[in-house]
Amino acid sequence: MATIDLSHAPMRTANEVIRGYGAIHQSIEIINPDAKHYIAVGLTNPIDVHIKGSAGYFCGGLSDGPAIRVDKNVSWGVGDNMLGGSIVVGGNAGAIAGVALRGGDIVIKGNMGSRSGQVMKQGTLFCGGSSSFMAGYMMYGGRIIILGDSGEKVGENMAGGEIFVGGQIQSLGSDAQLTIPTEEDLSGIAEFLKKYGFSFSGVFKKVVCAGKDLTYGTPEPKTKPIAYPEFSGRQSTYWNKKVCEDIRIKGSIGRYRVRGFGAARHIPHFNDIAFKTRVNPEKMDRSGFEKVRLRTFIGDRHGGRALDLSMPVMIAPMSFGALSPEVKQALGIASSMSGISENTGEGGMSSVERAETRQLIAQCLSGRLGWNIHDMKRSDGIELYISQGAKPGLGGQLMAAKLTPEIAAMRGIPAGMDLRSPSRHPDVLGGDDLIMKIREFREAVGWRLPVSIKLGGGRTRDDVKIAYKDNLDFVELDGLQGGTGAASSEVLEYVGIPTISAIMEAMDGLSEINARGQLPIVLMGGIQNGIDAAKAIALGATAVGLGTPMLIAAGCIGCMQCSSGNCPLGLTTQTPELTKRFDVQRSALKMHHYLESIRWQLAAVTHCLGHDHVQELNRNDLVALTPEAAALTRLPYEPEYRTGYREQYDAANDMPGVSSAKKETGTANYTKQSFELIRMMSESNHEDNDVQQNLLTQALVPRENPFPEDRPGHLDDIVFLSAALTRLVIDPYREDCSTQTCITRSIGIGPKKEDQPAIDLDKPFFVTGFDDAPVPVQSALAKVLSQSRCGYIGRAPLKTTAKETPDYPWLQLLKPGEDPDAGADGLVYVINGSFEPISVKRMHPGQLIGLSVSATSACDALPFALKNKLDLLVLDQTTGIENPWVELDSPIDLTVLRNAVRGLQTMGKEEEIALVNFGGLRSGTDVAKALAYNCLGSVFSLVMGIAMGGSIQDKQLVFADDLEESAMVEAGLNWIKGTAQETAIIARCTGKTNVHNLEPEDMRAITLSAAKALDIPLASGPEKRESF
């Protein structure tokens, strides 16, 4: 028996020594542990380890095989991710004991802390005493045995496995249910108790997954992508095909939509930036730029072995599961051929992928699916996923259609579920825990490998500082344009900041703590060619990551059905008939050609700009071609640099161009031009100078400015900043976020005032504009509003065909001078044109009184409304709320919001009157923006009509005669449910458990017009914050 004294040995040394004894199968005892962290982490030999005292965090974590005994207590995460062996704890365990357990036994003789067994998949977690709250949280499999009592919410959101409780169960978690243990269960437990010397004479209760939340109900109908010019850019209309499709589909499925790819509308990007030196591909001297050095080392900031990239490019993390095994193999081959790195993504490492890949980063996600010590050890880098640009705040999603038995087995979860991974790690609940998790990883692999995090752009300025202080080796930073296999379509579009903003914020954040240049950033999210890559590096990135374009190089046609599992090319599917369409060798070669074409472009541009090394590219090499790009990057706005490139391309182009007849793609960030260029790069010979010159000529052509100056401020140009490291995201799949709404004036701190009028709603939604709709439509809406507890604003209550009186709050819409209705829950006087004082009268003390005002009347109406203690202001963004379906042809004027909110702020009377906005609201995200802007709710009109089956004809919404009332009710309810989900998802992404806690500070503008209309800062802000 060897002895290690932790009062002398630093943990890093101690773990080296422990592993050394492990290698020679020598048992050891550890004295003076004194609750130190990471004891025996990463141990993979079947030796006895006796810890004579208490251990700290992650005792025996990431291990396989040892028999560990701890005499006294352990802190958080004992046996984290253990694959086999045993840990016996003499005293108590802190929180998340047995987190992500994948096999073996963990025995806690005393009590066990909260969330024990979180995301465990196999093995047994035993507690001789009582467990704190949420034991078995999100567990996928395995067995928890608690002899004593269990705290609140036992089995919360479990997807599989079994929990046996000998004592009292304080409460069951959601989707957990009680059953009676079988004989087999009990004999298994008896055997276990005997093995570890326990006896128990009571009766066990068994908790299992009820299975109600495992899959989405109705599948989302198949759709073809709508060409992006329909919904983004100059030609698009407000109530376009895409908007209508979203409304209808939500009306049929009753939840938020899910799709693959990234943001689909225009986002300011690298093709709005040009090089300051004219790049003329025809004058390229190959012998010159072949000398340009591209080799980049990354990841040795803390002594690990750096990744050795032949050029500053990595393949972005994409999971085995989202992609077929064959595609992962091909990516591995291509990365090796081009001398760059590959990344496992979520869900584990396939052996074929490992064998084919020279440098493979193993990615660890929140669900710890397929995560294990052996794959860590055989990787070349370790990456902890915090969030990603496509869906910051959401965990991975893998629909049942793609979750085959093989993939489920690799991940250690039940097959056939719609997998929605947790939004955050069980043991990383902030920057403080992150540093401990990173340290555990380092200990597990003997400090040999680079450790990085993957981060979606958002609160990047603060997040990178934490990454720097937490000793990460590099950060993979992903902008809004990043792609994914599946995510909520609203989060894809509206949560996160553009890639060019993300890199700016990262650089500015590091500068603020004088750490610029000390934390390499690998930028990804819409980087498509060597030109984009060069610009990213010039803005400060050390390398770039490529995801979606790799798939395009392998043949992706952009049908955006990635989440469905029906990929016609066999890329993002697990269906054998489809995956066999994918030719590994051929596709690997195409991806390799694409990468080599990028290399050619990077070298050529670097040389042309007068540098010898790619890392010498810098901001002075760049100019902005659009006011947006200039504002977001602080590059000089020099649109004249736009000229020449297209002409150059046209003159040189003797290659078959993109047929103009071909339909545009479904995303403005990968147009048919982008697809065509990437395809041509993937089919090009990198030795052929002429071909490469021509491709470079094409890649250099900038796009038209998608945000012309006369464009009015648009809600679509506002994005949200997600929580990542500085604050905690609230899990949209399983944690509550309240939508309860109280429309009242004078919101203060403390309990609601009982003596003033108020309307309580379940959701922050009103509907208006149905006064002239056919009676069955009105009747259906009345039922929808009654059942979903939303309000109606109209001249009269909705007409009904039902016998029972519907029960929803009705606010009467009337002109000054008209008779108020005593039966109305509120009165809304419509102010047309400029404001003149009017006479108002409450018909009963509980009746709300409000005004509907426009941008011109808002400021003048405010003092009157406050003086007369009015309750409500409807901020009308159209030409008149009283006109039916006014949203069809009215411009949407957001400045009324700004004027009202700023006006109230100036008077110090914010929240003294309830604000509700109307006009152009289409989704839950639009409402989230209004709420964040200080509204208490929003008013829908046209959108509700479309949801219930109305169709737009000649500036009118028409309801067909054969629409069934019950169908309209169902669609209406579904739409409201899905829309409320959207609002709550956005709120959760920003870290709120209540939609009314959304704040203006959670929003950023991506265009100048939106920034001005709503007075919201741009996505990348000023260089340095003076005081904060």
Partner: protein, 305 residues
């Protein structure tokens, strides 16, 4: 994103062999990996008759002398009798005679000066750096009073300066201090609400918000216990925070209970730390019975009267 610490001795009979200040500093050092930007202590010293303890930030550069003069003049102008002053690190400690309304005084001076803390017992000492480096500068080890709370900070969304270190004083309220681990995600909504009620903020740190929030509740004559309870509804995000008064330490923990906080109690004392390792440092080799508060709970531990 930090580590919190607290110690409360229930009575005067003490067998514990470290001073309160030493013990708090050891807990901080054991959990320093959770935050290395800054640290601080709120110490409850014995009251001195007719004396109020005040502490102000002063600049680190040569302008300190003139700032000290300005502090003295401002205080005198508000009928504060300065008994003595002592410069310590980036602060000036003042012992003063003052019989007026402390809240009114605070409101009058807080826009001109940067008060760190005031109270008959409370003294907040905080600075940029790690506990073992900062503690000797502020003579923390010499403190051996009944209770105190302390903090290591890892900055999240506000800067790294002495002012943004914890603990925070509940401005205007004698002897009340808070430390916090977590993030308040409706910071701006709550801040604007409090500002409209006349409350003043010196930083953009969300823990200051907790302190100001509690101060506001108490201004409305709401008890500490009820204030803690109300905070569970009013504050969003995830947090474990401690609040200390002249004779007690209270805590509140949000519904997600994501931020760690463990408690150890014996006949003599209550010890709170973000991690067991902090508590174990005080009792090497011992097996301790520690507990963690449940989600959405609050509580107060008091000195034996």
């Amino acid at each position: 994103m930090c580590a919190i610490a607290g110690i409360l001795f229930k009575h005067n009979r003490r067998s514990f062999n470290l001073t309160t200040g030493e013990a708090l500093t050891l807990i901080l050092d054991s959990t320093v990996h959770r935050g290395m930007d800054s640290c601080g202590w709120a110490l409850y010293k014995d009251p001195i008759k007719d004396t109020i303890r005040m502490r102000f930030f002063i600049p680190a550069d040569e302008s300190a002398e003139s700032e000290i003069k300005r502090i003295e003049q401002t205080l005198s102008a508000h009928r504060v009798t300065i008994l003595n002053t002592r410069r310590l690190g980036c602060t000036l400690g003042v012992h003063a005679g003052f019989s007026g309304d402390l809240l009114a005084l605070t409101h009058a001076i807080e826009k001109e000066l940067k008060p760190v803390s005031m109270g008959t017992r409370l003294d907040i000492l905080k600075d940029v750096g790690r506990p073992f480096d900062v503690a000797p500068v502020y003579n923390i080890g010499a403190f051996n009073g009944s209770h105190g709370i302390a903090h290591n900070r890892l900055a999240t969304e506000s800067g790294v300066r002495p002012e943004t270190a914890h603990p925070f004083w509940a401005c205007g309220f004698s002897d009340i201090a808070t430390v916090h681990n977590g993030q308040i995600t409706n910071y701006w909504i709550m801040r604007r609400r409090l500002e409209r009620k006349g409350m003043v903020f010196q930083t953009e740190n969300d823990t200051e918000l907790v302190a100001v929030y509690l101060a506001y509740q108490m201004r409305c004559n709401i008890s500490l216990e009820d204030s803690l309870k109300a905070s569970l509804d009013d504050l969003d995000g995830t947090f474990s925070y401690l609040v200390a008064t002249k004779d007690s330490i209270g805590y509140a923990k949000d519904k997600l209970a994501a931020k760690p906080m463990v408690k150890y109690e014996n006949d003599e004392m209550i010890v709170i730390s973000s991690e067991e390792v902090g508590i174990n440092r005080l009792f090497p080799g011992e097996a301790l019975e520690t507990t963690e508060p449940a989600p959405l709970t609050y509580g107060i531990w008091s000195l034996a009267s």
